[in-house]
Subunit: 289 residues, 2 copies
């Protein structure tokens, strides 16, 4: 008999079960996955009750998913898998601005706004001016680059989380860089916030003594002709949780000083009141498609 | 800053996020799991579209689960994980009868039956007599051992899969071994059958060119005072798929000859018609609790 299941031969037996006609990439992925999953079970000598707990956890994670909630993405996030995949995908682009995770809140089309517009439709919190420039890796400015921006408010909530409190598209804007590749807009300094914890992923965080928070950040998706689209964040330097983001999305190069400004002339230039914060984000795009 | 996400440090960063208060076993399991999942993603250089496919697959697998269907167990089965965990749990019991997977059809309480009863409530197919003995590892008989038996019919379906065709508890029985540890019952030779393929696991089998079949078998859960409970199968020697069980549950030691018998005296002894099949299963139990 060809098959006699043993711990040592099991992963090979599974791999060999894939027919020669299997798509080579699918076979490569499944071979590695099965090898690592089997090695995991052997390493920890996974018990049957523990396996049952895992089956129940995965089942409840699936049942928590609906059109507005993606619990498997949250699970991937808190295990660092989302960030790992994002990093692998961008590993060849060393001089360009680093990428980070998309996150689950890019669910509303951002309104097209003029440079200088205020994406904070509510007021309150600490006013903030964001300026920056979009350039190619050789520092050539990229006029006409598009910047899709979204963020939580100063209480740590996105518009879609508070449909009765925040106006639709609060904290969102789609800007076009000017002829020098420069952009600027007004907003409010975002707040750290917890990821949703009322599901299995929240149970996992509690069981492992982890907090659920992300440090304050503003999301960007930047596109420019002839360049690779960039999905990233600008993190607020000094924010709580900047060293312990629960989804591991922080990269040093993406942490930006939100400097306090008290100069009335600067306030007048940007049409804000003093004191305000000013953050500058230089965005370097990788040529490609 | 303590945290700057890189491919190499990512798994450690996740592991370090678990608080010192984390249950040591949970920490051990998650540390190994995260290490292996990250190594998998790095090994195959998992792309963002592939990650999205995985999230979608897991989500749909969760949505397929309900009170009667456990798609995550099927997934574990076809990846060999169920059998691996079962084997690890029983690795220290070399001289005892080997275990194998429980499977998803042990969902009905088996009716208490007298030795010699026929668990085939329908007729048709090839009649079969199963005899055997339950002993301890030192070959001492175990009188009063309980044998919970269940099987598919000769068409490859369990009673619960055909509530309109098969009587309730067809193919099921709970027997008590006699004063010599011996047992015997009548049934029909079971048929190979496919696992359910109308879900994501079926898609996976199709994509990898795998068949969905299990070789013919009879399930046993055996319990005896002072001994470890045993979950196993008796496989029909020569069955189709005996070398390619889609859930990898076959062990050579569990493959039993279902010998053809044409002797009228033997038929009379067991109260069956000739020709019939006779299978004998010696069950060796490990002392323990």
């Amino acid at each position: 008999m060809a098959t006699d299941f043993t711990e040592e031969t099991a992963a090979d037996a599974v791999t060999e079960s894939f027919a020669p006609s299997t798509n080579p990439r699918l076979r490569e992925i499944l071979t590695s996955l099965v090898g690592h999953l089997h090695a995991f079970a052997r390493d920890v000598e996974l018990t049957i009750p523990e396996w049952e707990t895992a089956i129940d956890f995965l089942t409840r994670t699936g049942h928590k998913c609906d059109d507005d909630r993606q619990e498997f993405i949250l699970l991937s996030d808190v295990l660092g898998m989302s960030m790992l995949v994002e990093t692998i995908s961008n590993r060849k682009f060393g001089v360009a601005t680093e990428s980070t995770v998309l996150g689950p809140f890019h669910v509303v089309e951002s309104p097209v706004l003029e440079l200088g517009a205020n994406i904070d439709l509510v007021g309150g919190g600490t006013p903030c001016v964001v300026t920056g420039r979009v350039v190619s890796v050789d520092r050539t400015p990229l006029p006409g680059a598009k910047l899709d921006v979204w963020q939580a408010n100063d209480q740590g909530f996105y518009d879609v989380q508070q449909p009765d409190v925040q106006p639709r598209t609060n904290g969102r804007g789609l800007f076009t860089a000017d002829s020098n590749g420069e952009f600027w807009f007004r907003t409010v300094v975002p707040s750290p916030y917890p990821i949703p914890t009322d599901g299995p992923v929240g149970e996992l965080l509690i069981a492992t003594g982890r907090h659920a928070y992300r440090p304050a950040h503003i999301h960007f998706i930047v596109t420019a002709d002839g360049h690779r689209p960039l999905t990233t964040h600008m993190f607020v330097a000094g924010s709580d949780y900047i060293e312990s983001d629960t989804v591991f999305a922080v990269k040093k190069s993406l942490v930006v000083d939100f400097a306090k400004v008290t100069d009335p002339a600067a306030a007048a230039k940007w049409n804000v009141a003093v004191p305000f914060r000013h953050a500058h984000f230089e965005i370097v795009m990788q040529p490609g498609s």
